[in-house]
């Protein structure tokens, strides 16, 4: 059987659903195909979402029962060694009141489901449990629909939005974008650790609605270019750790062992103490950066979100890039519908819109960042260890004068990371984010 619609969207993640909301709002006949039993059932993120970009799709989301876990009032960054580490925290009362829900945590199984329901309320059709297995082309080679693995069979459409996330066998099969190389994705594992609400509030020194996010760099990734994170939910903590997929292979690290070691880190262990693990998940993050963003449009199709490598690793912003790219893709489609022209040329305004938005501006600004991390492996190996040893020495009160301590700390740091290399690290770090 063949069904047809105006716009077919593959994937009910933030990118696909954002587009569906905008299109359905304008009365465009939109079908979203989702392989999971319900939207979100296949998805994870560290768990923070950004109110500004969600409000761009659902302005009154906070009043629409959006499943918010905790409003983030404090962000911490740790630079960890094996037995401890440095901690930098920033808390601001403005995020409690005036800029409440600037950043908040969610569980994607609940959030994506809620988000998809908003699209349905606007008139979009979200078809779950349905895998898009191929793209349909007419004799001239132009895209004309999607093949699925369900009774629905083929879904004909005038234009297709590919919002199918970073791991796309569909891309590998049809070639609409190149499959990522192992060095262009990070593999992350995540555990949900349940704890009573009041214990979480107490441990993180927040009220029951508010929460804390912690990003953890250093030796916790065992030498991989990667990062760990700990976020507060209402009655659980999200614990995430991941690294570049090529590094995983080269260093022969096992993800499930890595997360166990991470849980045992003294700064982490005290925060998750007595918690009960409830779920274990794994997912990729796009890490190619600006240089590896594929072409995001062609005759009859557009690509949004993770599928287009739109992820800012430095600021762990992915879901908002997905929402904004989905929205801009939908706006492009609305213009194309008016012109009745879905050619590559007509859809190319998508690229212009992305260039004008923070999406491609930020990715361009940080284009050197992935290379910087690849080049300076010492950030994840020697540097956290020698800096920690130096701090430990300085803070140990043992009758040795500070000048002696200072010079032996310097010597130790320089023996691991020569001065020239340190200078280059600082210069390259500045250049990669300037």
């Amino acid at each position: 059987m063949t069904e047809s619609c105006e716009v077919a969207i593959v994937g009910a993640g933030p990118a696909g659903i954002s587009a569906a909301c905008i299109l359905a709002d304008q009365g465009v006949e939109t079908v979203v195909l989702e392989r999971g039993e319900f939207p979100g059932s296949k998805n994870i993120s560290g768990g923070v979402l950004y109110g500004h970009d969600l409000a761009g799709i659902i302005p009154d989301f906070a009043r629409q029962d959006c499943p918010i876990e905790r409003n983030i009032v404090e962000s911490r960054v740790w630079y960890a060694s094996d037995e401890g580490g440095f901690s930098l925290a920033y808390r601001d009362a403005i995020f409690k009141e005036e800029r409440r829900l600037n950043v908040f945590t969610v569980g994607r199984a609940r959030f994506d489901r809620w988000f998809a329901r908003q699209a349905e309320k606007k008139g979009a059709l979200v078809v779950c449990g349905t895998l898009a297995t191929d793209l349909l082309r007419n004799k001239a080679g132009r895209l004309g629909g999607v093949r699925t693995d369900r009774e629905l069979g083929d879904l004909k459409a005038r234009v297709i939005l590919l919002a199918d996330g970073i791991n796309s066998p569909l891309a590998a099969k049809t070639g609409f974008r190149p499959d990522p190389a192992p060095e262009h994705v990070a593999l992350a594992v995540k555990e949900i650790i349940e704890l009573p609400e009041e214990i979480i509030s107490e441990r993180f020194n927040v009220s029951d609605e508010d929460g804390v996010s912690i990003e953890i760099l250093g030796s916790v990734t065992r030498g991989m270019n990667g990062v760990g994170a700990l976020y507060t939910n209402k009655k659980s903590l999200s614990l995430v750790i991941g690294g570049n997929l090529r590094d995983f292979a080269e260093l022969k690290l096992k993800p499930y062992e890595l997360i166990e070691e991470f849980k045992a880190h003294p700064m982490v262990a005290s925060l998750i103490k007595d918690g009960v693990p409830r779920e274990y998940m794994a997912h990729w993050l796009p890490e190619g950066g600006y240089e590896h963003v594929p072409r995001l449009f062609g005759d009859g199709y557009l690509i949004a979100g993770d599928s287009g490598m739109l992820f800012n690793a430095l600021h762990r912003e992915g879901s908002n890039m997905a929402m904004v790219s989905g929205k801009l893709a939908a706006e492009t489609i609305l213009q194309a519908l008016k012109k009745d022209d879905f050619s590559e040329e007509s859809l190319s305004i998508y690229q212009e819109k992305l260039k004008e938005s923070f999406v491609l501006k930020d990715l361009k600004k940080y284009r050197r960042f992935p290379g910087f991390l690849r080049k300076h492996r010492e950030i994840f190996t020697d540097l956290p260890l020698s800096l920690s040893m130096a701090a430990r020495d300085m803070l140990t009160v043992d009758g040795v004068d500070k000048k002696t301590k200072q010079s032996r700390s310097w010597k130790m740091i320089k023996s691991k990371t020569p001065l020239l290399r340190l200078a280059r690290l600082l210069f390259n770090a500045w250049r990669s984010v300037k």
Binding site: G107, A172, A249
Partner: protein
Amino acid sequence: MNIEDKLFLNRFQVDDTSHLRIVDPKLCLEECRDQPCLYLCPARVYTLEQDGRINAAYEGCLECGSCRIGCPELNIEWRFPRGGYGVRHKFG
């Protein structure tokens, strides 16, 4: 906590056929020195059999895709489980 216990926390809707297939077992034996599928996989789906073959316990697959592009011989035929099957997140 070992990987079996971790997977036990999850909900899976297991299909009766595998979505993972090792195309040429000979390649695993003869060409693949590092056998990264054995440690790369976050669900320890791949294990080494006594006779040197690689077994794929697809039931616990977390669908990350790492073996798909991480196998140096591209020897794993990989597709998503059928719509509605596979891992089903409770929290996400």
